[in-house]
Amino acid sequence: MIMLTAVVAAVYAAVLIPFKGLTIIPGFTSVRPANVFPVIFSLFFGPAAAWGSGIGNLIGDIFGGTFGPASFFGFIGNFFFGFVGYKLWGNLGPLSSGEEPDFRSNTGRQLLEYLVVALVAAAITAAIIAWGADLLGLVPFPVLGATITVNNFIAAAILGPPLLYLTWPRVKEMGLLYPEVLRDDDLSDVASARRQIAAYGIAVVAIVWVLVGVFIAPPQSTFQRALGAIGFVLVLGLAVVSGERLSELVGY
């Protein structure tokens, strides 16, 4: 698992820098093909993807020369970018396909579920990073929140399904999916109802946080700061009580 974390981090950082695409706010955000990796790595590698995405973004900042106080929020935001996928997949009730994300059958339902997962992951990352940048007085929440949500989602939505279709069977065959790598007692045994409530909770908090932060709360206001604090505590709490279902879906 530790090697997976390191490799996820290194790949994410290595693809972040040379494949920087269309820059939107230089130094802060751009449409980057690397943004697909935390979402699909989350489905492959579970917790290793969360830690790896956080570390990878930090390495990107160190080597890219943008290391600073915002890197702390970048680490946490990217941690959740790689965390949401494996917690939500299979736990979205009617929005779930009930299958592993290989895009080989029931493709429409899988695509819908994947897009929801990608949107929530993008929104939660955007909310945390934009909240941090607003707290530090670097960029107002409405500017960064909207931008990161849109460009993280676009990259993950366009590149994710074909990448999963092409690589899922190979990674599964190699025995590197997280249910195989983790010890049995590390796979959380959470009741189905609690898993679904936590998954929907994370999704609702992420979307509401971004919408209120962008359209209602003024930047650098007490409202904006309190919204972020409440949103973050809620996300943390829901993350703690959440569970995963992919291990069931892949037959472990």
Binding site: A6, V7, A9, F28, G65, T66, I154, L163
Partner: protein, 261 residues
């Protein structure tokens, strides 16, 4: 991809000789000073100090390499912030599209300088601290060894994957693959043939590296030793004291009303 992506500059200056821990405290002092003040004249002090220290530490080439990012961030802050702050004072610029008052101008300039101070301060840290020192510093701050090992391994693997990424880009380009044309969506789709080989190369690497670790009896739970472990020297203590004075002093001055707009 022969050039190292690292921004570390190997020199023997006072800043290089400090431990990563004391440099992090110093960095915290610079960041705090840049954060608590809003007036551009006050924020200019940590910015200028960081810049002078960066040049002293041999970071001019790094600064030149990143000058466009710093300039772009400075401009973004300068353009965006007036739209999100209250106006006040005499009008400095009046056009049919935008009006900028003195308060908005000072506020935006202060914020842009803050961004620049953060970036230059961070650049000073990575210019004077090697990857190994960063990892040892994280460990000495009490972070779990497993986390530090993952960071260290990722830092070591990163240049390898960066090289692999460059090789894949060149190999696909030699086959006529083009990613720069078309609209943003088609450009993004064009990255798929580039990302899959990078991804699969990395995955194969996981298996090899994991086997190598197991063969050496790797265990994250046992106590570790570091070859280049450095103890706190008097210079480190001096820097910590100066940084603490900087932090307390700047917060006190800010609360007393100094450095506001």
């Amino acid at each position: 991809m022969s050039r190292s992506p690292s921004l570390y500059v190997d020199r023997n200056t006072v800043l290089h000789r400090l431990t990563a821990r004391s440099k992090l405290v110093l960095l915290l002092g610079v960041f705090t000073t840049a954060y608590v003040f809003g007036h551009p004249a006050a924020v200019f002090v940590p910015l200028a100090a960081s810049f002078i220290a960066l040049i002293y530490a041999g970071g001019w080439r790094n600064f030149k390499r990143l000058a466009y990012i710093i300039a772009a961030l400075f401009l973004v802050g300068f353009v965006v912030w007036p739209a999100f702050t209250a106006s006040g004072g005499p009008t400095l610029l009046h056009t049919p599209v935008v009006t900028v008052t003195r308060r908005e101008f000072l506020f935006a300039l202060g914020r842009s300088e803050r961004i620049a101070a953060f970036i230059v301060g961070g650049l000073l840290f990575v210019t004077t601290t090697s990857n190994e020192e960063i990892v040892a510093g994280l460990r000495s701050l009490g972070l779990p060894y497993a986390f530090c090992f993952a960071v260290g391994t990722a830092l070591r693997l990163f240049p390898t994957f960066l090289g692999a990424t460059g090789t894949v880009q060149q190999a696909q380009a030699a086959r006529g693959h083009e990613v720069s044309g078309g609209n943003p969506i088609s450009r993004l789709r064009g990255y798929i043939p580039l990302l899959i080989p990078v991804f699969m190369t990395a995955i194969r690497n996981v298996q090899t590296q994991a086997m190598a670790l197991e063969a050496r009896g790797f265990d994250t739970r046992r106590d570790r030793t570091f070859y280049n472990k450095r103890s706190f020297a008097p210079a480190d203590w001096a820097v910590v004291v100066i940084s603490l004075v900087l932090i307390v002093g700047s917060v006190w001055l800010s609360l007393a009303g100094f450095g506001g707009i």
